[in-house]
């Protein structure tokens, strides 16, 4: 089965191969389960799998046939519901989605990823976040911001009642909170600014 997907010129599965693969396992290429699969394979970059990554990944998943692959899909999908695994997959997504050789993640890609990820694990502020970034920030996203955002989504309640303005949140997240409050989106209690 590998041979069909494999790129003719390199020991890799590239975009075309991936489309074929998705077809075969009956998964939409935009489906988030692809991300989870990539995570299992420890893929370095999105839209490509090296031979090593692919082979080892399949082994780790215990897949040796197309049927087994299809059977495993629901299991992989369920992993996304696990809090801990979700975090790992989320963190993994940053390096996977960014351009090779870049330190930061392009804004458009980041927004796309966030929308995908937070559809899975619901975060009510994701739309506002994306809007805010496009209106006010318009630059690439650093790794620190990426990681901290999940933390923010997980720990800070959407009404912002437990947000600590003097904490070590990245600057961008502080700005986001200000943006929300300015626009009256959340009438949460301001935590004590005058600590």
């Amino acid at each position: 089965m590998n041979l069909l997907w494999r790129d003719p010129y390199a020991d890799m599965i590239l975009a075309d191969g991936i489309s074929l693969l998705c077809n075969d396992i009956q998964v939409d290429p935009q489906d988030i389960v692809m991300l989870a699969i990539s995570w299992h394979m420890k893929a370095a970059t999105m839209c490509e799998f090296s031979k090593q990554e692919f082979v080892c990944g399949l082994q780790a998943l215990g897949i040796d046939s197309l049927e087994k692959f299809c059977e495993r899909i629901p299991f992989i999908r369920s992993e996304l519901k696990d809090e801990h695994k979700f975090q790992e997959i989320y963190n993994f997504a940053f390096d996977w989605a960014k351009e090779k050789g870049q330190k930061s993640l392009a804004l458009d890609t980041a927004i796309g990823m966030w929308q995908l990820l937070f559809a899975e694990k619901e975060w009510p502020l994701v739309e506002h976040w994306c809007q805010f970034l496009q209106a006010r920030h318009n630059k690439a996203i650093s790794r620190d911001t990426w990681f901290q955002l999940l933390e923010f989504a997980r720990t800070v309640d959407p009404a912002l009642t437990n947000y600590d303005a003097e904490g070590a949140w990245p600057y961008l997240i502080d700005e986001f909170v200000e943006y929300l409050l300015e626009n009256g989106i959340q009438k949460g209690q301001l935590s004590d600014w005058t600590h």
Binding site: T145, A168, Y171
Partner: protein, 738 residues
């Protein structure tokens, strides 16, 4: 004679009784001859015998009892009745007399009965004769009367407070009784007298204070308070026991001052605020003296002081702002006269209130702190767009440069510089001041505008003392550079004279500067006229002979040129900048030039060209004529050499106004600050390895505080930047820790 006959108790006592009666009579003032030594001997011996007889005739115990009974009898029969029938002052006098008598009686009787003391009492560890005697008085007289006595005394004290004359000696004697009756302990004095006296005092002053506070102004009230305290102190020294002093004064202070402190200080027209406003130095000194003794008494005073100074300072700022906004719009960016006046006034304000702190408030740290905080508040407010750092730097510039607006004696200059440096302590953006100062210093040094080298060095020394060596190291480098440059120049001239063939034909003076010390200047690639190009080449060669490892970058924008202009009327020497000279020399080869042509040939920016052409054709001296003859330069203008130009002087200077450096300075400082914050964060983390976010920010602010107040947001940004650059990382478990 030698055979002692046993004395029988009744007999012996009879004999003693006679002696006792005699004593009583003397005390009562009845005519009675004094005791002779024989009398005394007999009485003593009788006791002696009765004590040393063999039992059952040793009557020591009985005699001891009878000794005491004698007192009791006398007191109950004579002393108490006479005291009971008297009142007030008369009673007091009687008491004093009776007490005095009693002491005499005790003294005498105990001498008669002395033998008891030696053996009987000692052996049985009983209270001694003296003690027994005093105890009788205490238990019988004192016990009954001390209340009345106390009240009488207090009443007299209150009378004295109201201004009446009283018999102080009497009171002293009475109070001595209270003390002596304690027989070494103060508890009778304290419990039976002092406690009530203090209560009464408190009540007395409380009444007075509640009246005075309504009627009197603050200074008057304070005068009264001071007077009261003085009188009470006086009272103690005359008749109260010295141990009462602190307690008494504390009560008075409490009732007069502590209770009414706020009302007093905040009295509308005469309270602390008003006194400061009206410069009532004496009253303020009094206020300090009085409130100093009360716990936390000075806190509200120092707060009012701080508020007052802040208000005055802020008013100055507003004044300057108003004056500045009335200026012409085109002069807005230049720090003008008003701002100079402002700095002067701030210095004066500081002097004035420092004097207050030193004199009225005797250098108390609380007031030093209040003054400092007040100045920090308004000194950091800018005036019409110029920060206080800039104003201060400009002020210094005016003092230090030739032809500055301040004409002062050397001493006055030194003094003023000293004060300016002190003011710098209050400004939080010290690094901004340093940058402005450096820029202006550069101008002064390079254009030889410094009035006095000594003063330049002196202020640098003061700045170094105040802000540390790092603050002034670059500036000192600049001053040193000039000295070296002079040396260098003389070497260059020697080189030229040794090689006459390469002499460029023009006198050239070059000042070589060490890049690190001086502010950064943009160097434009000016197209020099051919004559000058040669000079540059020659110097370059010369410099190569000195050092091979240094790179020379020419900053033509700072150069000056003396050129001769051959006008119709006469040839004049023009002192211009290199840029201006380059422009003028173009007219050696062309009669008319357009703006575009000039710009292209010189290879300068629009800004520079406009400025320099303006100075040559639209300012005081019109070396060039402009077509059309308007007041501003436009890119379509044409210029021609004005051969008709003349002036009564042979030599004129054509100034080229400097570019506004303010924006650049602020930019530079911001950049430096970012580096400083980075360096500080890295330094802290290197030594601490792991640190919580809040603490990191705190330490950073502290470290950098000497030069400027870092913005917390800026620090956060730098931290994130450092994370991205992999210098820092968040702790895996706690994102608040690095």
């Amino acid at each position: 004679m030698n055979d002692r006959k046993t004395i029988d108790l009744e007999q012996g006592w009879d004999f003693m009784q006679k002696g006792i009666t005699k004593l009583k009579n003397i005390l009562e003032g009845l005519p009675e001859p004094q005791f002779s030594s024989e009398d005394y001997m007999m009485l003593y011996t009788t006791i002696y015998n009765m004590c040393t007889q063999k039992p059952p005739h040793d009557y020591s115990q009985q005699l001891y009892d009878k000794y005491r009974e004698s007192f009791e009898e006398y007191i109950t029969s004579a002393v108490l009745p006479s005291l009971r029938e008297k009142h007030d002052e008369f009673m007091l006098r009687e008491l004093v007399k009776r007490w005095s008598n009693h002491k005499v009686m005790v003294r005498w009787l105990s001498r008669f009965f002395h033998y008891l003391d030696r053996y009987f009492i000692a052996r049985r560890s009983l209270p001694g004769l003296n003690e027994v005697g005093l105890t009788c008085f205490r238990d019988l007289v004192y016990q009954e009367l001390n209340g009345k006595v106390r009240d009488a005394v207090i009443s007299l004290i209150d009378q004295e407070r109201e201004g009446e004359q009283i018999d102080r000696a009497l009171l002293k004697n009475v109070l001595d009784i209270f003390v002596e009756i304690g027989m070494g302990q103060m508890d009778h004095y304290e419990n039976d007298f002092e406690e009530v006296m203090l209560k009464d005092t408190a009540a007395y002053y409380s009444r007075k204070a509640s009246n005075w506070i309504l009627e009197d102004s603050c200074p008057d009230y304070m005068l009264k308070a001071e007077e009261c305290l003085k009188r009470e102190k006086d009272r103690v020294s005359h008749y109260l026991h010295f141990s009462s002093e602190p307690k008494l004064l504390e009560k008075v202070q409490h009732e007069l001052l502590s209770v009414y402190a706020t009302q007093l200080l905040e009295k509308e027209h005469s309270g602390c605020h008003a006194l400061l406003r009206d410069d009532k130095v004496e009253d303020l000194s009094r206020m300090y003296r009085l409130f100093w003794k009360i716990p936390r008494g000075l806190d509200p005073v120092s707060n009012i002081f701080k508020q007052h100074v802040t208000t005055e300072g802020t008013a100055l700022v507003k004044q300057a702002e108003d004056a500045a906004s009335n200026k012409k719009a085109d002069k807005k960016d230049v720090v003008g006269l008003q701002e100079q006046v402002f700095v002067r006034k701030v210095i004066e304000l500081h002097d004035k209130y420092m004097a207050y702190v030193n004199d009225c408030f005797t250098n108390h740290t609380l007031f030093h702190k209040a003054l400092k905080e007040a100045f920090e508040i308004f000194c950091n407010k800018g005036v019409s767009g110029s920060s206080s750092a800039e104003l201060l730097a400009t002020f210094c510039d005016n003092i230090l440069k030739k032809g500055g607006s301040e004409k002062l004696s050397d001493e006055a200059i030194e003094e003023t510089l000293e004060k300016v440096v002190k003011l710098l302590a209050y400004i939080s953006d010290k690094d901004l001041f340093a940058e402005f100062y450096r820029k202006k210093l550069a101008r002064r040094l390079l254009f030889d505008k410094s009035a006095n080298d000594e003063h330049e060095r002196s202020i640098l020394t003061k700045l170094k003392q105040q802000c540390g060596g790092q603050f002034t190291s670059k500036m000192e480098g600049m001053v040193t550079d000039l000295t070296l440059a002079k040396e260098n120049q003389s070497n260059f001239e020697e080189y030229l004279s040794n090689n006459p063939n390469i002499n460029p034909g023009i006198d050239l003076t070059v000042t070589v500067l060490t890049t690190g010390f001086w502010p950064s200047y943009k160097s434009f690639d000016l197209n020099l006229p051919a004559e000058m190009v040669k000079c540059v080449e020659v110097f370059r060669e010369f410099y190569q002979t000195k050092t091979k490892h240094r790179k020379l970058t020419w900053i033509y924008s700072l150069g000056t040129c003396n050129i001769n202009g051959k006008f119709d009327q006469k040839t004049m020497e023009l002192i211009v900048t290199t840029y201006q000279a380059s422009a003028l020399l173009l007219f050696n080869t062309s009669d008319t030039l357009s703006y575009q042509e000039i710009m292209t040939q010189l290879n300068l920016s629009d800004d520079d060209v406009v400025r320099l052409l303006h100075s040559l054709s639209c300012a005081k001296y019109k070396i060039l004529t402009k077509e059309p003859n308007t007041k501003t330069i436009t890119p379509t203008d044409h210029f021609e050499f004005n051969s008709k130009f003349t002036d009564k002087m042979r030599r004129i200077k054509i100034p080229l106004p400097p570019v506004d450096e303010k924006k650049k300075v602020i930019e530079d400082v911001d950049k430096d600050r970012r580096y400083a914050i980075d360096a500080s964060i890295v330094r802290i983390m290197k030594s601490r390895k792991v640190l919580g976010y809040q603490q990191l920010v705190m330490e950073c602010v502290e470290q950098l505080g000497r030069m400027f107040k870092p913005d917390v947001k800026a620090i956060k940004k730098r931290i994130e930047d450092l994370i991205t650059r992999d210098y820092l990382e968040r702790d895996k478990d706690n994102p608040n820790i690095f």
